[in-house]
Amino acid sequence: MKKILIVDDEKDIVETLAFMLKSKGFECICAYDGEEGLKLAKESSPDLIILDVMMPKINGYKICRLLKYDSKYKNIPIIMVTARSQEEDKIIGEETGADEYITKPFEFNDIIEAINRYLG
């Protein structure tokens, strides 16, 4: 079973997303802030990460960069979920190395399609 790490400070989003992914046969682990997300990404070796941008402690772009510039983790596909907010605008444009961007609110189909591109 493929393991997916979901990192988002919005519990409702994590919960619904995890439910849906589980029903599609994925194993899900969840983190609710950037720090926890980075820790789990390194410890639980997920097959793919779904990452929110604006989060407390460490923002998603930074996590993405930290993982993508680390040879140990750089092969884990990362899907960034963005709300296109003003704060995001300020940090955007930096090279993050994310594999995929999806705008909130998203359709499950879009997420599933994206996941399948990397894990299918």
Partner: protein, 673 residues
């Protein structure tokens, strides 16, 4: 009584003379001491006439000394000569009388010389006054030019006080001056340190006088003396001396500082020596002079504050839109997710009715997120934050993609969506993603307003600006010229009334228009479309007949050097705060500009751009403040005058701030690239 000094030995002649003098109602002094005493006496008595007996010892020395060394220059020196006596120093004296004395001649001579002395004194007094007035005038003149040089209230007050000090040499001045918030300060300028009592008294006098001015009307500014700030300025050389309440007995001048209804304060001056008529005139002139620039300063401050407020409001508005959209988007995500889960029956089976309603909810979530998307785009377009990625592009693939997407949605309403693209459609300089957004907006609208069984035709072809029907144009942002790609969407919908056409491009137009409200949407689509087209230097026309359908056509300029250049500059404007633009004809080497900037520590910022147009024009966008911009304008233009740049034909066309991108475009257009 005129005083007459007689310098002689006591003898018959002098006795005679003194008799006559006293008879003539004059005061008479006789000197026969040594020269030093005589000279001192001359200074002390300051006589109208000095009679010197030439037979007296040292008569020559005394005559010369009195006329050249003493303050008594106007004093008439008359020599007593013997008949036929000839002396070399006669021309130092003012007149002579021969001995023996003839009474009538003596009296007559004395009287006319007394008159001469009086006239001379009057003249020198007048001269002094004239000099003073001239000086005052000079100060007034200088001050008036200083007044026009500033719009800063406190500076104006300072200039006024300095000028008063120079012209009227007052001992102490007190002024109650109001700032733009109506807060008063007490300014005391003094030669000596004033006592606390005096300061309080001065303040009280001014407050009372101020209140007296508006006896029966409301005061322009409320005032209490408690806690009023005192700004004190004392001449450092007199710091040991003290002014106490006795100063209030000095001569004083008072005036309100005002123009018409605008009131700025009151001022009072004190001087030990009485003020003259000219002083009063000078005082009033100065006070009147300062009032006018003070009013300008007030107006200027008001405008500045309003501007700051407006800017803040504008920023708040766009921040608000952006934040709200983000905040709306986040909760929308789990709502959408949950609906999808229920719909997919992963969380258990649901009835068909329930499915219908959940579907309804889901459709509206999609609609809501579309509106949020529009709102965000709009706020970004307006704040210049929307990024355009211009490139030379063929639009045909984009149009095909749109047709395919909308073909499906059309089928639901039984509407055909067709596409007809001219063969070899020329390329345009555009952000294809934004062009897709523009056309999608138009087709979405067409679908919305076209009843079942209708059709939507998308066509694309090249046309010349001359073929565009000017009457149908919707306020083009950039004048049309040259060739364009015209993309039309023609529907068989409900159409738009002619008078409503301009309105549909306004923000939230549908909210205001109750007729179309039931169709849905908030009417941001066309407003965004228009703004996106403006950025592309494009245009839009609308042709519509109620009940028959509408034809929206957008025009995108063919790849054109000048237009690309302008679009690039406009795009770059979004990245810099202040912008300086130089355009240089037949550019050979513009390195010197950078050199000048570097020398003066004006750094080109990371995001500043150098844009070139076929070696002919050159624009430099720098992120610097206004004064640096002005400096740049000056120094670069000076450099450009040098013969070695003659060939380059450098034109620096004004320096702009980002404030108004539209103005910039207009001016750039005038440069006649």
């Amino acid at each position: 009584m005129p005083k007459i000094l007689l310098i002689s030995e006591l003898n018959e002649t002098t006795r005679e003379i003194s008799q006559y003098i006293e008879q003539n109602d004059c005061k008479y002094f006789l000197c026969e001491q040594n020269e030093e005493n005589i000279l001192r006496q001359v200074e002390e008595i300051n006589p109208s006439i000095i009679l010197i007996d030439v037979d007296y010892n040292n008569a020559e020395f005394l005559t010369k000394q009195i006329k050249t060394q003493t303050q008594a220059q106007n004093t008439q020196v008359i020599l007593l000569l013997d008949k036929n006596q000839d002396i070399a120093y006669l021309n130092f004296a003012d007149g002579f009388i021969t001995k023996p004395i003839n009474k009538n001649i003596l009296i007559h001579t004395l009287n006319s010389h007394i008159k001469i002395k009086k006239t001379l004194e009057q003249m020198s007094e007048n001269n002094k006054e004239l000099a003073r007035s001239l000086y005052q005038l000079n100060v007034l003149y200088n001050t008036s030019s200083q007044f026009t040089g500033t719009l800063d209230k406190s500076k104006l007050y300072k200039i006024m006080l300095e000028a008063l000090e120079k012209t009227l040499s007052f001992d102490i001045s007190s002024a109650l001056l109001f700032d733009s918030q109506g807060e008063a300060k007490l300014y005391i300028n003094s030669l000596c340190e004033p006592t606390e009592n005096l300061k309080e008294a001065l303040g009280m006098r001014l407050v009372l006088s101020y209140k007296n001015l508006f006896e029966k009307q409301t005061l322009p500014h409320d005032i209490t003396l408690d806690g009023i700030e005192i700004v004190q300025n004392i001449k450092p050389s007199h710091i040991q001396n003290i002014f106490d309440l006795r100063v209030l007995n000095y001569d004083s001048l008072f005036a309100p500082i005002k123009v018409g209804e605008d009131f700025f304060g009151v001022i009072e001056l004190f001087r030990k020596t009485p003020f003259l008529k000219e002083d009063v005139t000078c005082f009033q002139t100065l006070i009147h002079q300062v009032a006018l620039p003070l009013r300008s300063a007030t107006l200027y401050e008001e405008i500045k504050n309003t501007n700051i407020k407006l800017e803040r409001l504008e920023r708040l508005k766009s921040d608000f839109v952006s934040i709200v959209s983000h905040e709306l988007r986040t909760p929308l995500t789990p709502i959408n997710n949950s609906l999808e889960i229920v719909l997919s029956e992963q969380a258990g089976p649901i009835s068909d009715d329930a499915k219908n309603f959940i579907n309804m909810a889901k459709r509206n979530v999609v609609r809501l997120s579309g509106i949020i998307e529009d709102l965000l785009d709009l706020s970004r377009v307006q704040t210049g934050k929307l990024d355009f990625k211009y490139k030379v592009a063929n639009l045909a693939p984009s149009l095909e993609l749109i047709q395919k997407t909308f073909e499906q949605s059309g089928q639901e309403k039984n509407i055909t969506v067709s596409l007809d693209v001219e063969k070899n459609l020329p390329e345009v300089y555009a952000d294809t993603h934004r062009v897709e957004q523009i056309i999608s907006n138009l087709v979405t609208n067409a679908l919305k307003f076209t009843p079942e069984g209708g059709s939507i035709k998308i066509t694309a072809k090249k046309i010349d600006s001359g073929e565009i029907n000017q009457e149908l144009l919707v306020s083009p942002f950039y004048p049309l010229s040259g060739e364009y790609v015209k993309i039309s969407t023609k529907d068989t919908g409900i159409g738009i009334k002619k008078e409503d056409i301009p309105k549909i491009f306004e923000k939230f137009s549908q909210i205001e228009n109750s007729l179309t409200r039931n169709i849905g949407g908030v009417g941001l689509g066309l407003s965004i479309t228009k703004q996106l087209l403006d950025a592309h230097l494009g245009a839009i026309t609308v042709e519509s007949k109620e009940g028959e359908g509408s034809d929206f056509s957008v025009y995108l300029p063919l790849t054109d050097e000048k237009k690309c250049f302008i679009m690039d500059i406009n795009q770059a404007l979004g990245c810099t705060e202040e912008v300086g633009i130089l355009s240089i004809k037949e550019n050979e080497n513009c390195g010197f500009i950078e050199e000048i900037l570097n020398q003066n520590l004006i750094k080109l910022t990371k995001k500043s751009k150098e844009l070139k147009l076929k070696d002919k024009y050159f624009a430099l966008l720098v992120n610097i403040n206004q004064s640096a911009l002005e400096f740049m304008e000056k120094s670069v233009m000076e450099e450009a005058k040098k013969p070695q740049w003659e060939k380059c034909g450098i034109v620096l066309k004004k320096v702009f701030s980002k404030q108004d991108g539209k103005d910039l475009l207009k001016i750039l257009n005038k440069i006649n690239l």
